[in-house]
């Protein structure tokens, strides 16, 4: 009725009538009246055609599907919550009794943290307070260590100068994850300017050498994240070239290898960063990346063996230094694997997390944390909390490098302190 009045009053279709018409929300009689009007009014007909085109374009975005049914994970979380609540009630009851009996028992326990002496209690404390402080301290160190040109100097902090771009990109990602502060925003702004300056005419970020895909993949990912945060269209053109460069270097197999004079065999580590950048590009509306992403996922899936472990260049190919492979592969396709494989991978990851987790390197820790985040049940949550606690304990607490992490793990000689700190901070 309202629509009819609109039409009579204005002669032409009112805005909301036109929208409702295009969405198919009108009652049959109003719809017929509109259709009659459209025959006689080319202006309205053109407007409707335009609007329909926009709606069709919107509806053309293919719908996503959950990787696997979320029901078990949700019921698990619900059960964990209920169990926690039951325990909390027990503590409350016990504390109540303590107050009644001992009067000052709680006052004695609380300052020393003993009142949360069960594992769950400590975890809650760690989750609520310390990670943010650790992130804050790391972000402050990043701000202090940034060069005037916006980069983080790998060599100055014990790493390989050829990876300045990768380290600046990783640090940018870590700053984007840290709580906001004006000086941190300024640091990201300078880092973006630096990264853009380091793009050459072919679209490549950083110097051309074997390890270039790390620089390029990380820089592309960091700038895409900045684009997502800011919507600044000036980043689109450099990113167009960067994304095209990634898709152009995909191997026949579907992965990416080192970019030397001779294309090397694809490997999971290089592939992970290119794929992560393409996933973000796809989310932001880049076209022609879905095909490469599908091929990459298929290739990564082919790296998993029957135990759920991932290989480096093929299934069961596990060089001694490549201890990040299973968590890395798991972050990419855990959700899409058949349940049995997913269970096996989960068991492997939990086992990995339980064994002196950060002993070897921060690269593995980062991927382990990412993979565990994909498994929102209590066991995975506890493993993450344990890792987080260990990370926080390892953070340097004294000047002049307060807030950073020591580059004393594997790859420390390549990435140095900036690398260790960026990955540790991103893992929190």
């Amino acid at each position: 009725m309202r629509h009819k009045q609109d039409m009579r009053a204005a002669g032409c279709l009112a805005e909301d009538t036109a929208t409702s018409f295009c969405l198919g929300h009108l009652a049959p009689e109003t719809r017929t009246a509109c259709e009659r009007h459209l025959v006689a009014c080319p202006a309205c007909a053109a407007r409707i055609a335009d609007m329909r085109k926009a709606i069709e374009a919107l509806r053309a975005i293919p719908p996503a599907q959950v990787g696997s049914d979320l029901t078990p994970a949700i019921l698990d979380r619900l059960a964990a919550e209920e169990a926690w609540q039951r325990r909390a009630w027990r503590w409350a009851a016990a504390a109540g009794v303590a107050v009644l009996v001992g009067g000052s028992l709680l006052a004695w326990m609380a300052p020393k943290g003993r009142w949360l002496s069960t594992r769950e209690g400590r975890d809650t404390l760690a989750l609520s307070g310390r990670p943010e402080k650790a992130q804050d301290a790391a972000a402050d160190w990043f701000c202090r260590a940034q060069e005037d040109n916006g980069s983080w100097d790998a060599a100055k902090w014990g790493g390989d100068r050829r990876y300045d771009v990768a380290l600046t990109a990783l640090t940018t990602l870590a700053l984007l994850e840290a709580p906001s502060a004006p000086e941190r925003n300024a640091a990201v702004r300078k880092a973006v300017a630096y990264l853009l300056k380091r793009q050459d005419a072919t679209g490549l970020f950083g110097p051309s050498f074997d390890g270039a895909p790390y620089n390029h993949g990380m820089a592309t990912l960091a700038l895409l994240r900045v684009l997502r945060a800011t919507g600044d269209v000036r980043l689109q053109e450099p990113l167009d070239r960067a994304v095209a460069r990634i898709t152009a270097r995909q191997t026949r197999e579907g992965g990416w290898g080192y970019w030397g004079e001779v294309e090397s065999e694809p490997n999971l580590s290089v592939t992970w960063w290119q794929t992560e950048a393409l996933k973000m590009a796809e989310t932001l509306g880049w076209q022609k990346v879905s095909g490469p992403l599908r091929r990459a996922t298929r290739w990564v899936a082919s790296l998993a063996d029957e135990t759920g472990a991932f290989g480096y260049r093929r299934a069961a190919d596990t060089p001694p230094s490549a201890n990040s492979l299973t968590p890395m592969g798991a972050t990419m396709i855990l959700a899409g694997l058949p349940p049995i494989s997913a269970e096996r991978i989960k068991a492997l990851l939990l086992e990995m997390a339980a064994k002196t987790p950060i002993e070897e390197d921060y690269y593995r820790t980062y991927f382990l944390m990412r993979a565990l985040r994909n498994m929102p049940d209590e066991e995975a949550g506890q493993a993450r909390l344990a890792l987080r606690r260990e990370l926080v304990e390892r953070q340097v607490a004294t000047a002049p490098v307060r807030g950073s992490w020591e580059p004393d793990r594997r790859w420390g000689a390549v990435g140095g302190r900036v690398y260790a700190t960026a990955l540790a901070s991103l893992s929190l």
């Binding site: 969405l23 374009a57 979320l70 029901t71 979380r77 919550e81 702004r189």
Partner: protein, 193 residues
């Protein structure tokens, strides 16, 4: 809980099923049935995932879906059969999204400083966004949150204006005007030279 989840689900009120396909399940949910929750998850998880993705979630879309259903269970007792279940569902989903966005507020703030940065502007002058680049996802991303949520709920989730007004807690006229503006903006962006 497990044993209940394994039991076949029996609708609480068959009559309401004809009006809202989820009403009987929702009533069982209100009574604390995890079997009802499981069935509602199966029915709505994909739609909800798409809601979050189109609102701008990235790799955490499934986490947000899970969080929404946990809230559905927690607040299930507040569900009243006078409203469709999906109105209740999207009201909670919107709260989950709002909480998530609050945590990400620094991203909003970042939007201002980068645009104001002279160094980048001088070295990389703004480039036009050709039609083939400013595709529809980018247009959707460029909408303000208020316009975007109306458009997503209507065009993708298939909610009627009245339901959207209930979900957002705004008058019907506001929904209509936001929807018009959202579509007009998308149309302009897609037609931009």
């Amino acid at each position: 809980m497990t044993s209940e989840a394994e039991q076949p689900f029996r609708p609480h009120n068959e009559a309401r099923c004809s009006e809202d396909p989820d009403a009987a399940l929702a009533l069982n949910l209100a009574a604390g049935s995890t079997a009802a929750l499981a069935e509602l998850v199966r029915r709505h998880q994909n739609a909800l995932l798409n809601f979050f993705l189109r609102m701008g979630a990235y790799s955490n879309g499934e986490d947000l879906v899970q969080e929404t259903f946990l809230r559905v269970f927690r607040y299930g007792r507040r569900y009243r059969p006078s409203a469709r279940f999906r109105t209740f569902l999207y009201t909670l989903a919107r709260h989950v999204w709002a909480d998530y966005c609050r945590k990400q507020q620094r991203r909003e703030r970042l939007g201002f400083w980068l645009l104001a940065d002279a160094a980048i502007r001088d070295e990389h002058p703004p480039t036009p966004s050709p039609r083939d680049r400013m595709d529809v996802r980018a247009a959707l991303n460029a909408l303000s949150p208020k316009l975007r949520e109306v458009l997503v709920l209507s065009v993708y989730q298939g909610l009627r204006y009245r339901e959207i007004a209930e979900v957002l807690g705004v008058p019907l006229g506001t929904v209509k005007s936001r929807m018009n503006l959202a579509l007009e903006n998308v149309r302009k962006m897609l037609n931009a030279p």
